[in-house]
């Protein structure tokens, strides 16, 4: 008898998980960082060998941190959107090349266009861990006081940019430094 009930039992377990899953949004990940100061790092620049990049460099400005890697397929889809966002001139974007090869990273920007005001090269992923990166691409919005205000997980679309990111950036620009 039991072996005939087994399929039903397994199905019930599956349904429990699916119903919990319904309440969760796989894209929306509450980042513990939101409302906290941006984790610091000092990393070599990907594009200018003799320079370093650090969040402190952008104090007093509203900026985005876009985490990407040349091995990331979704980043290919996202990249034109980031280029487009940079072209609006509304906000500066800092790139964080996460766990990537130096050559591949440089090649990527050369081929697909470089929307970043600066590109940090996070070879071993240490800075990424501090920022709570677990999937690439991810995009953070940081305000003038260096506080993380928003996080987007997964590839950006033009809709995310026009409906969420740009209005938020306008909002944050009005805040005092």
């Amino acid at each position: 008898m039991w072996r005939y009930l087994a399929p039903l039992g397994i199905f019930i377990v599956l349904v429990i998980f699916l119903s919990i899953g319904l309440k969760l949004d796989p894209r929306e990940v509450p980042s513990p960082l939101i409302g906290k100061p941006a984790p610091s790092f000092t990393l070599p620049s990907l594009t200018q060998a003799d320079q370093t990049v650090s969040p402190e460099d952008f104090r007093g400005k509203v900026w985005l941190l876009n985490v990407w890697a040349s091995w990331c397929v979704s980043c290919r889809a996202e990249h034109p959107v980031v280029n487009e966002l940079a072209r609006t001139g509304e906000v500066i974007i800092v790139g964080l090349d996460y766990k990537d090869g130096l050559k591949e990273g440089i090649e990527w920007l050369r081929q697909r266009g470089d929307p970043y005001i600066a590109s940090a090269y996070d070879e071993d992923g240490r800075a990424g861990i501090d920022w709570g990166v677990y999937g690439v691409p991810e995009t953070f919005v940081i305000d003038k006081r260096g506080v993380v205000r928003y996080k987007h997980t997964g590839p950006l679309t033009m809709k995310d940019v026009t409906d969420t990111l740009l209005p938020l950036v306008q909002e944050l620009k009005k805040e005092p430094a």
Binding site: Y4, P7, P26, P80, R112
Partner: protein
């Protein structure tokens, strides 16, 4: 007015389906033939009204009725006619309507082609299909009405997602839905058989052609989706192990297992309970696929429109359909007795192993697909499971499956021996080793172990099929009468297996020998890859009906001879401001050349260009087409057309019967 009529037709369809799903089933339980006879007319009326609703929505698209919210969200006055028609199923509401229409078509196909079916069986099958229809019609009317008005009407529509403005959208979803929904027929047969307690060879024989046809549609639907992703997404990939792709692949794997298991049930009266379970699983996975795509519980490239509230509805529906049928199974299955007995080395064993491998493969893929959700639900963090997992479970499981294929088709029912099989098959083994190795050494640029395994397995499928074909003819004196008397089912099986071999060649060699380069080209510059020279002649701006594109022109030559002019495009769709890559593909049996425009890099007209050479990629789709043809041949075997007229005793005299029925 027309949209309201469509809405009304949908409500009428629901009303009729309520009758279709109850009266014939009750009639069958009470043996009331007047009630049972309602199955036919109600199914036909349901089709009529569902079709009217579908036609009304299509009309709203063609006539640019932007006062209908669904049309305003998914069309535009500049959208070409063909895409306005395919946009009907381009988003959630319309694709549900297509689902409902497809289900109605299948139900009527059963009504039409099963004239020979006993009335109580037909009543139950149509009744069960009606129950499923109710779910979808209610879902549409309660949560996703495609006819909802937009007041005030939009001046113009927001346009169809540019990714979907393609011939692929016109054919891929209908084909896939025909497959998904088609699996409801063997499901309904299994439920009907459990309700009646008549799980016999006749039931298996009725189910087989329907399963084959649904499987054919599913095979073609998945292949079309893969082909579409290949040329439209512009990344040169043909399968991404995306949750939604998996959602279509899972029912395919189970349906494949079901096809093989039904063979045993029909011919040998064995595996009955298991076959019933597979029929339930196959359709359940189709429904689960719909849930995954439509509820947004998993992130996917296909999650165009998701809504958790709709997810709740589908989940409840899922519980009723799957939970109900599994409960029925738990109640009825203990009474099912399989009578056919077999020894360790026999065709039954080979098919049992085939089933085990296919089901384990499906279970591993299901686990990988749902794993992010499980971890998230248990609060263990968010992860994504990528192609490395799927490849590392899929490939090792399929290798033994293909090795088994050759043994299975040659082995005898009931009892066989390894020495006999080896005696028949050793030439095929040697042949596949030699040809497989030679293929890689002679035709391909370098030696790779994975490629050799792939070619050997493929040649093994071809050569063992040839041996089994020859064995089939060997005891006949003359060739032509022997060929003509061989049932279509056997030709179908052989052809489908050859398709598997062709498919293996395609996936292995493409995966291993593809070359990909991202390069920067200015007009006049050229690049050499493999034996091809790609020269960028120019990039100019062209205007489409609803987009502006930069169109590149590349001259491709080989050994100094021009072989193709390729014109990839980078399009910006005016309404949604979305950039799209239209790759240019030079297709060939031996290789595809694939060119996609990246970004313009400077004002002097330098562009980033992606170049791919993809050997044997066409074999992937060619293989699936051959498989589908095989399935069609098998489904048209004449013994199915005689089904019901003459139900033969499947167990030959003298077979040991175990257990009492």
């Amino acid at each position: 007015m027309i949209p309201e009529l469509g809405h009304f037709a949908l409500i009428l369809a629901l009303g009729i389906t309520l009758i279709q799903a109850t009266i014939p089933l009750i009639g069958a339980a009470r043996n009331n033939s007047t009630w049972m006879a309602l199955a036919r007319p109600t199914a036909q009326a349901q089709l009529l009204f569902t079709f009217l609703a579908f036609a009304a929505l299509t009309y709203a698209f063609i006539s640019h009725d932007f006062s209908v919210a669904y049309v305003a969200n998914n069309s535009n006055s500049a959208l070409p006619l063909i895409y306005r028609i395919s946009a009907v199923w381009g988003a959630h509401e319309g694709s549900l309507l297509l689902w409902a229409l497809t289900l109605s078509i299948w139900t009527n196909a059963v009504v039409l082609f099963s004239r020979s079916l006993p009335l109580n069986m037909l009543a139950r099958v149509v009744g069960v299909l009606g129950l499923v229809s109710i779910g979808f019609l209610l879902f549409m009317l309660l949560t996703s009405n495609p006819f909802e008005r937009l007041i005030p009407a939009a001046m113009d529509g927001r346009d169809l997602n540019p990714l979907l403005q393609d011939f692929g959208l016109a054919v891929h979803p209908p084909m896939l839905y025909m497959g998904y929904v088609g699996l409801s027929v063997p499901f309904a047969f299994a439920i009907a058989a459990m309700l009646s307690g008549r799980l016999d060879a006749a039931w298996a024989r009725w189910s087989r052609p329907w399963t084959s046809v649904a499987w054919v549609f599913l095979t073609l639907g998945i292949a079309l989706g893969s082909w579409w992703a290949y040329y439209e997404l512009g990344w040169g990939g043909w399968w991404f192990w995306d949750p939604v792709e998996n959602a279509s692949f899972l029912p395919w794997l189970i349906a494949t297992a079901l096809l093989h298991s039904l063979a045993v049930t029909e011919k040998r009266s064995a595996f009955k309970a298991w076959t019933v379970l597979l029929a339930i699983f196959a359709f359940s996975l189709s429904l689960l696929g719909t849930f995954l795509v439509r509820s947004g519980v998993l992130t996917s490239v296909h999650a165009f429109a998701t809504d958790p509230e709709r997810g709740v509805f589908i989940l409840i529906f899922l519980c009723l359909v799957i939970g109900g049928s599994l409960a029925l199974y738990a109640w009825r299955a203990p009474q099912i007795r399989s009578v056919g007995r077999f020894e360790l080395v026999s065709r039954e064993t080979a098919l049992l192993l085939n089933n085990v491998i296919l089901v384990v493969t499906a279970a591993s893929i299901l686990l990988g697909t749902l794993y992010p959700l499980l971890l998230d639900a248990l609060d263990l963090g968010k992860i994504s499971v990528g192609p490395p997992y799927f490849n590392s479970v899929f490939i090792p499981l399929t290798i033994p499956l293909v090795m088994l294929l050759g043994l299975g088709i040659m082995s005898r029912w009931k009892r066989d021996s390894f020495s006999r099989l080896f005696g028949k098959l050793w030439p095929a083994m040697v042949f596949s080793l030699v040809i497989g190795l030679a293929w890689v050494l002679i035709l391909l640029p370098e030696f790779k172990l994975g490629a050799v395994i792939g070619t050997i397995l493929a040649v093994w499928v071809f050569s063992s099929s040839a041996v089994s074909f020859k064995a089939r003819l060997s005891n006949k004196d003359r060739l032509w009468p022997a060929l003509l008397s061989t049932p279509l089912g056997f030709y179908g099986m052989t052809l489908a297996h050859i398709g598997v071999g062709v498919f293996i060649i395609g996936i292995t060699l493409t995966s291993i020998y593809s070359i990909e380069k991202d390069i920067r080209l200015s007009p006049g510059e050229s690049y050499e890859m493999a034996e091809y020279t790609f020269q960028l002649d120019s990039v100019k701006t062209v205007e489409g009906p609803n987009y502006i594109a930069s169109q590149g022109r590349l001259t491709v030559s080989k050994n100094g001879e021009v072989i193709d002019i390729m014109q990839p495009e980078k399009r910006i769709y005016r309404v949604q401001r979305m950039p799209m890559t239209e790759a240019a593909i030079d297709a060939g049996l031996g290789r595809d050349l694939f060119v996609a425009l990246g970004e313009q890099l400077n004002a002097q007209g330098a562009w980033s260009v992606r170049l791919y050479v993809k050997p044997y990629i066409r074999w992937i789709w060619l293989g699936t087409i051959i498989m589908a043809l095989g399935g069609l041949l098998a489904a048209s075997d004449r013994r199915y057309r005689m089904a019901g007229k003459k139900v033969l005793d499947p167990v030959p005299a003298g077979t040991v019967v175990t257990g009492a029925a």
